[in-house]
């Protein structure tokens, strides 16, 4: 039996699409030419990226002293940016893995891009622990490699080492997961390509996918296994990142609440970034029918939820600081809220706790402009959260004689803006050459939750073969016995769900 969404639910695919329409819509950006706006934005991002790379090279060439750090504040923008990017990277895996396990169908329209965002964000994040090292040329020493130093191992007590493991595992699993999902879609693109060189490239990327049942079977299995693998990683990565702080002795860092608090914050900022990107992408790539208001609303709800969790965490911290009776801790939080960095704390509170509460209003969470603005505000707030945690804790810790202020230099800012530029360069390239929606997955839900499918289901559940003509080749679910294939898919998915 086909599973058809109840009428009361909004369809996830609008515009009475056929399978072919989906393929056409998604492949259009790959096959067509980019408009001048794309080139403009790409150029801008490219310049920013070059500026950032220049600043990074300058840092590596001359020394960390070109940043604004000092004897007391040993980490500031570098680790702030690191944690911020890692946090952003969370949404992709959460959407594709966790929501897959929870059978949330609405994820299908956004998971591809969210995962791409994850990959790029983690790349940006991984940059910072590298360049923040005084001697980056010895960075491989943090890996437990066999060596000639008398078998010298890294220090397994150090959370920084766990970071290395966590981030590298997360990055590799995410990359594989993303790529596996891309294989059938690459095949679709390959089959449609006429120009020989791109066709060659896509056929290499597609790993010889032929769309037969065995392939699909394995594809499903691998996806599920990877989803299972990726799910704990979603939680472990940011938990471990938070342990960089939680295991220290510094008041304001030494907090057991950090792991869940960081994960919630990460999901919060990740979804905000997904929204920022999606809202632009759906407009530019004309994907409004796939990334619908419903999707946006769902994401807004998650932002609201995680934002509230983050808010609770902030208040808990304040409560514990008071309740514990530890004077240093009490002062640390007092200083956060009222000290020289009160503005950062205020920005964090406003952006992260107050602004998401607007999402309680349906009108607001379905309003594209407000959503877009809020999604940016949330990410600004999350950047400040990390800044507040890192800088305001160490700039005034135990020994009052060493209290200082942190003043960023233009290199600090340049490196940060550079990573934003680099991120957008990668994302813009991705949006032109990769299928930005998971074709194969979206098609599986077309009949169940697509607007057309829902309508048809009301009138007739039969005779679909005629409506969805097998007009294209290569894309497995739509090829030949497309309806049967996809119905099987839907069925199997439902079966699993029941298990």
């Amino acid at each position: 039996m086909h599973v058809v969404e109840a009428e009361i639910r909004e369809p996830l695919i609008l515009g009475e699409k056929s399978y072919n329409d989906i393929t056409e819509d998604v492949c259009a950006p790959i096959e067509g030419k980019a408009n001048s706006l794309w080139y403009f934005v790409f150029g801008l991002a490219g310049l920013l990226a070059l500026w950032g790379i220049g600043n990074i090279l300058y840092t590596i060439g001359v020394g960390i002293g070109v940043w604004g750090l000092n004897k007391t504040v040993g980490w500031a923008w570098d680790i702030t940016n690191f944690v911020w990017w890692v946090g952003i990277g969370h949404a992709g895996t959460l959407i594709s893995a966790v929501l897959l396990l929870f059978r949330q169908r609405w994820r299908m329209a956004i998971n591809r891009s969210a995962e791409a965002m994850t990959i790029f964000a983690v790349m940006m994040a991984a940059l910072f622990p590298g360049i923040h090292m005084g001697r980056i040329w010895q960075a491989y020493w943090v890996l437990p490699l066999p060596n000639q130093f008398g078998s010298l191992w890294p220090n397994f007590n150090s959370p920084l080492l766990w970071d290395v493991f966590a981030i590298s595992t997360y990055f590799s699993v995410s990359l594989v997961f993303w790529y596996i999902g891309l294989v059938p879609d690459f095949a679709s693109v390959r089959d449609r390509m006429i120009k020989p060189l791109p066709k060659k490239i896509y056929s290499i990327l597609a790993f010889g996918w032929s769309g037969n049942a065995k392939h699909w079977n394995r594809f499903e299995e691998v996806s599920l296994v990877l989803a299972g693998l990726a799910t704990p990683l979603v939680f472990s990565v940011h938990s471990i990142v938070s342990m960089d702080f939680a295991t220290s002795v510094i008041p304001g860092w030494h907090t057991t609440i950090f792991p869940p608090y960081f994960v919630a914050g990460a999901v919060f900022s990740g979804f905000a970034m997904v929204l920022t990107l999606m809202l632009i992408m759906r407009k530019v790539l004309k994907l409004e029918d796939y990334i619908t208001l419903k999707h946006i609303e769902y994401m807004n709800i998650i932002i609201m939820l995680t934002g509230s969790m983050v808010g609770v965490a902030y208040l808990t911290e304040l409560f514990v600081a008071w309740y514990s009776g530890v004077e240093y801790e009490g002062y640390a939080f007092m200083n956060r809220a009222t000290g020289p960095y009160w503005w950062a704390y205020a920005a964090m509170m406003t952006c992260n706790v107050i602004s998401p509460q607007l999402m309680w209003f349906k009108k607001i969470r379905r309003n594209l402009v407000i959503t877009f603005i809020l999604s940016i505000i949330v990410n600004i707030g999350m950047w400040f959260e990390r800044f507040v945690i890192i800088v305001t804790s160490i700039h005034r810790d135990y020994i009052t004689s060493s209290w200082t202020q942190f003043h960023p230099t233009y290199v600090d800012m340049g490196v940060f803006l550079g990573t934003i530029g680099l991120f957008f360069v990668l994302f813009l390239l991705y949006s032109r050459v990769f299928p930005v929606l998971a074709l194969n997955e979206v098609k599986t839900i077309l009949r169940a939750t697509g607007e057309f499918g829902v309508k048809k289901a009301k009138s007739t559940v039969f005779n679909l073969e005629n409506e969805f003509s097998p007009s294209e080749s290569g894309n497995a679910p739509a090829s030949d016995d497309s309806s049967e294939e996809s119905s099987d898919d839907a069925e199997s998915e439902e079966n699993k769900e029941q298990e």
């Binding site: 923040h132 010298l152 150090s158 003043h407």
Partner: protein, 1094 residues
């Protein structure tokens, strides 16, 4: 049978064919059948055969390889004949003496491979008793100053012909002097105090020579930091122009009026040592120290009770005390001050005969009154010993001003200047520069062409004291030796030798010194012993051999017969006269005091980057002098309401909060300097340090360093700080205080970046420096660590509510800390006077980089050891003003914010805390390093493996004591064009300056973390020595740089596990506590609670 058997290799041998016989005589066969092996017929036809190919290949590979290797340039040349006592890698130590007219210290110089690299106190010597300060131990770097002059020079027109041969200069100078003398002209030698009988002999020889030529000779003595007032007062009271010996170790009550006797006043180092011997609460008694002063000084911050007063009030306060102790004067003092003065008088009277009153003023009247007070208190003969005369200050202001007048009148035909930079230090009222231009021939013997040098005619650079011979007589019966530890680096010559040369004596000064010394030493053997020891005690030779120099002052020097002091010796006429002389009528809003800073002293070492980077003990400012003004006054000057918030925000000086700028005008002189709000500065006064603004220091500075005071047109004005010596008033005595005619104006809008190592000044109620008072200490003896005691043990409740010590509550595995050595320090906060000698000692022992003002401004100084200074802070709670001494005292946000603001007035108290790596047994840094670059040693040291460090800075973040330092740049690179600011300041970037580096300590590269190693190189050396001797390491055998340099012996190093070592007892002492024990880091550094005698 056997020997008949014959073996042969071939038929030729068997048959002994003639060809075979021929060829067997040759060692090698001529014919090598290569072609047959190769069997390649085509080889013959090829232009390159295989051999040639291989040859060419081999050659080119070798050549390419060789070309790729950079041939090492070895600059050192191995000894052809190794000097007997010089073993590479083994240090030699020499005794010598430092005397520059300000500080006197017996020192021990460590040399490695012939290079002096370290200066420590000579703990056996009676002179200064092993005490050194930052100026003394840093002076080794002044030797390697590449900006010193490289050779003699003479002026031709307006320009200098530099690096001449000595012969040329000698000839011309001698000629000029002879012609001056033969024309009956006056030849004057102007010097700072000369305490060397040998040098005096040379001067006499020179004087006799001039006399023989028909000229007249005069030796004028003047000290940059003048003590003329005391000398002349003693002349008036006792008939002798002498400095007595002050016995601080005997004084139960010390009352000091603006005399910074722990820093720069007379023989400060000796006083420091003596003073500290009775500042221990656990001794038989503890002295009580009152300080009444204008600018907060080291002595003032060490005092039990300190009163701030204006310079004009000092005379009144002295009169008040004199009246209280039985004199017939009354002083007009404020009620607030009266309370403290009464206490002081009460204490003085209670310890009659065991007290000491001193004054720093150069005003003879005040000094006479102080003499009278001491006389009334029967202190002469007990705490003040007039018989044991001290010779270290002989300068006469009167003679100096007389000389200036004579010079202006053209009466001086030749002037030789020694050990003094008069153009720099003279009060402007003397117009010394103008006077100098009227002198026929001026010969300058400084170390470079500085202010005076520029105006001289001949420049005969004198050697650094580490390149010189001399014998000094600092105190009656005490001799100290100066011996060279290195050949002169440049073509310089001791000025004494120059004098001898110019007067036709071809002997070296060494010979002269030797013969002088022989006169009291007797044998050659005792000469060797004395030079080895660095000192010699004699009773036979009581005073400096009389010389012409003693007659230079206008006031007649009387006989050297000891004068017995009796009360009536000070006649009432003298007192009345003194009262009128002492009294100053102030005018204007501000009075000015020129003080001497710990770092630069009189400015002689202005080119020493260590001293510039050493933060001022009080203000923690580096690289500048400034106007110190009470916060209340600053706010008033800027027309702001005096609230805690304005004090905190408006007066804050930090990286991006530059200082405001003021202009101070005294008479004709004007100086523009940044203003620093200095708590403790007397209201209505300003203080400015002398010793800055030296010519030549402009090469260190950059536009960014000077903010709005940068002078683009006149780069010579961009010196480090400004010279305020010219501001001194010059009446009868040169006065460092000016009470009238001082105007202070705000230079609107101007800002000046200041580099400070500490931007926060209060403890915020945290128990960083534990402090109590003597009565509590005595009351709680043995019970201090119990609940409610002043040194309560830190107990933390576990999950069941049971109170446990931090050692019981432990997450980590214990190190085996009770086995073997466990090195540790015990730091007595009661003895720490904040002087910073340990900071510079650490600098030179451990090759710590100098980073320059801009980097210090960014809080990136590299000091492994710092001295934190905290001011007390009161907050208003429930309408009461209470001292914040416990965090739990603070309840509201306003109270927390208020606690950040230091007291500014009379309530102010100051504490110091030397802070280095605490070598925690549970070090937070060790667990977080991803590459295990910082680990714990078996001997309790937290050790840093620089090679392994990748520079994540996680350890520094996680250090609760914030003692880790990161190499932000490659500080020692000679070739980084991007950082001229380091190249200018950091001696490690100078080929000559690098010579001071300690070869036992690695110079850290950029990107690695560094920190105090507890001088692990010394520990290793000490352990080896003990092993060779076959005994356990003895207490005191190993000293860290900080412990050996501490002039008060406040830092003790030893093995905490060895009962023989003092530190192992100290750690269980009542007063012992661990810094922030509640974190559970379990440091190996123990602090001893500060106890104030109030």
């Amino acid at each position: 049978m056997a020997d008949t058997k014959k073996y042969w290799k071939g038929i030729e041998e068997l048959e002994q064919a003639p060809e075979f016989v021929e060829s067997s005589k040759k060692e090698f066969s001529e014919y090598v059948p290569v072609d047959e092996f190769v069997g390649n017929a085509s080889e013959d036809s090829s232009p390159t055969n295989r051999r040639d190919f291989l040859k060419v290949l081999g050659f080119s590979v070798t050549a390419a390889t060789l070309a790729a290797c950079e041939a090492p340039v070895t600059k050192s040349i191995p000894f052809l004949n190794k000097p007997e006592d010089l073993t590479p890698g083994v240090a030699n130590y020499y005794s010598s003496t430092f005397f520059d007219g300000l500080d006197l210290a017996s020192i021990r110089i460590k040399t490695r491979e012939g290079r002096p690299i370290l200066i420590e106190g000579n703990h056996n010597a009676p002179t200064s008793k092993g005490a050194v300060n930052a100026r003394v131990n840093s002076s080794v770097l002044s030797l390697y100053d590449s900006k010193r002059s490289k050779g003699p020079a003479k002026k031709i027109g307006e320009s200098w012909a530099k690096n001449l041969n000595w012969g040329i200069v000698d000839k011309e100078v001698a000629q000029n002097l002879r012609s001056a003398a033969s024309n009956g002209g006056k030849v004057v030698l102007l010097s700072n105090t000369i305490i060397s009988p040998a040098s005096k002999g040379a001067v006499d020889y020179f004087g006799a020579f001039i006399g023989a030529q028909g000229g007249s000779f005069e030796h004028v003595t003047y000290d940059a930091i003048s003590a003329s007032g005391i000398l002349d007062a003693n002349q008036k009271t006792f008939g002798r122009r002498v400095l007595p010996t002050y016995n601080f170790e005997k004084a139960k009550t010390i009352v000091s009026f603006s005399a910074d006797f722990l820093n720069t006043w007379l023989n400060a180092l000796t006083y420091t040592k003596d003073y500290s011997s009775n500042r221990k609460p656990d001794g038989d008694w503890m002295s009580k120290h009152f300080q009444f002063e204008t600018t907060l000084s080291l002595s003032g911050s060490a005092a039990d009770i300190r009163g701030a007063l204006k310079p004009s009030e000092i005379a009144e306060a002295v009169k008040y005390i004199y009246g209280k102790v039985g004199g017939d004067t009354t002083g007009k003092v404020s009620n607030k001050l009266k309370l403290k003065l009464d206490k002081a008088a009460e204490s003085l009277l209670a310890t009659k005969g065991e007290s000491l009153v001193i004054a720093g003023s150069n005003n003879g009247g005040i000094q006479i009154l102080v003499n009278a007070i001491n006389d009334k208190l029967n202190n002469y003969g007990s705490t003040i010993d007039l018989d044991k005369e001290v010779y270290t200050r002989k300068g006469s202001d009167v003679a100096f001003s007389k000389l200036a007048k004579e010079m202006s009148a053209g009466e001086v035909s030749a002037l030789i200047i020694v050990g003094l930079n008069p153009s720099y230090v003279a009060p402007s009222s003397l117009s010394f520069d103008e006077a100098l231009s009227k002198v026929g021939t001026v010969v300058y013997t400084g170390d470079r062409l500085d202010e005076t040098g520029d105006k001289a005619d001949y420049f005969a650079p004198s050697s650094h004291y580490l390149e010189s011979w001399d014998v000094l007589n600092p105190t009656k019966g005490e001799y100290a030796f100066v011996q060279p530890v290195i050949n002169p680096l440049f073509r310089t010559r001791q000025w004494q030798e120059s004098l001898l040369k110019w007067s036709g004596n071809e002997n070296t000064f060494e010979v002269f010194v030797k013969s002088t010394a022989k006169s009291f030493l007797g044998t050659e053997a005792s000469w060797i012993n004395a030079v080895h020891d660095g000192y010699f005690l004699s009773n036979a030779f009581d005073s400096v051999p009389a010389s012409v120099s003693d007659t230079t002052s206008e006031i007649e020097d009387s006989s050297s017969e000891p004068v017995s002091i009796i009360s009536s010796a000070i006649s009432s006429a003298v007192i009345t006269n003194a009262v009128s002389q002492a009294s100053v009528t102030p005018s204007g809003k501000f009075e000015l005091e020129l003080y001497v800073k710990t770092g630069l002293g009189n400015g002689d070492q202005s080119f020493n980057p260590w001293l510039h980077e050493l933060p001022d003990p009080i203000s923690k400012m580096t690289y500048d002098n400034y106007i110190a003004m009470n916060p209340v006054d600053v706010l008033e000057l800027f027309d702001l309401e005096d609230t805690k918030a304005t004090r905190r925000d408006f007066l804050y000086i930090g990286q991006e909060s530059p200082a405001k700028v003021l202009t101070v005008t005294v008479g004709e002189s004007t100086v523009t300097l940044p203003v620093v709000a200095q708590p403790g500065q007397a209201l209505g006064t300003i203080g400015i340090a002398v010793g800055y603004g030296k010519k030549g220091t402009e090469v260190f500075t950059r536009q960014e360093w000077l903010g709005d005071l940068f002078d683009a047109e006149n780069s010579e004005k961009n010196t480090i700080g400004k010279n305020v010596f010219p501001l001194q008033s010059q009446d009868l005595w040169v006065s460092n205080t000016i009470s009238s005619g001082v105007t202070v104006a705000v230079l609107e809008g101007a800002r000046y970046p200041m580099a400070t190592t500490q931007t926060h000044h209060t403890m915020m109620g945290r128990k960083l420096v534990n402090e109590t008072v003597l009565s509590t200490f005595l009351e709680q003896q043995g019970a201090a660590k119990e609940k409610g005691g002043y040194n309560e043990t830190v107990l933390i409740a576990d999950s069941y509510g049971d109170e446990k010590t931090t050692r019981q509550l432990d997450l980590w595995e214990e190190h085996a800390i009770d086995l073997g050595h466990r090195w540790g320090l015990s730091i007595d906060l009661n003895l720490c006077i904040g002087c910073g000698a340990c900071v510079t000692a650490c600098h030179l022992e451990n090759n710590v980089a100098v980073v320059g003002k801009d980097e210090v401004r960014r809080s990136r100084e590299m000091h492994w050891l710092r001295v934190d200074r905290y001011y007390s802070s009161h907050v208003t709670t429930d309408d009461k003003d209470v001292l914040v001494d416990d965090l739990s005292d603070l309840n509201t946000l306003t109270e927390y914010a208020d606690a950040e603001v230091a007291d500014s007035g009379d309530d102010l108290s100051v504490v110091y805390q030397p802070l280095m790596c605490q070598h925690c047994n549970h070090a937070p840094c060790e667990t977080v390093c991803p590459v295990a670059a910082t680990t714990h040693s078996d001997e309790g040291l937290n050790q840093m493996t620089y090679n392994r460090c990748v520079g994540t800075r996680y350890c520094a973040n996680n250090c609760p004591y914030k003692v880790r330092r990161f190499n932000w740049f490659q500080y020692d690179d000679l070739n980084i064009p991007a950082f001229p600011d380091f190249a200018k300041v950091n001696h490690q970037q100078d080929d000559l300056g690098r010579m001071v580096l300690n070869p036992d300590v690695v110079v850290r590269s950029r990107g690695v973390m560094e920190k105090c190693s507890m001088c692990v190189q010394r520990i290793q050396a000490g352990k080896l020595e003990a092993k060779i001797d076959g005994i356990p390491v003895q207490d005191g055998a190993i000293q860290t740089a900080c412990s050996s340099s501490c002039p008060t012996d406040g830092i003790k190093f030893g093995d905490l596990n060895n009962r023989e070592h003092a530190v192992s007892d100290k750690k269980n002492d009542d007063r012992a506590y661990l810094l922030m024990e509640e974190i559970g880091t379990q440091p190996n550094i123990y602090y001893q609670t500060k106890v104030r005698n109030v």
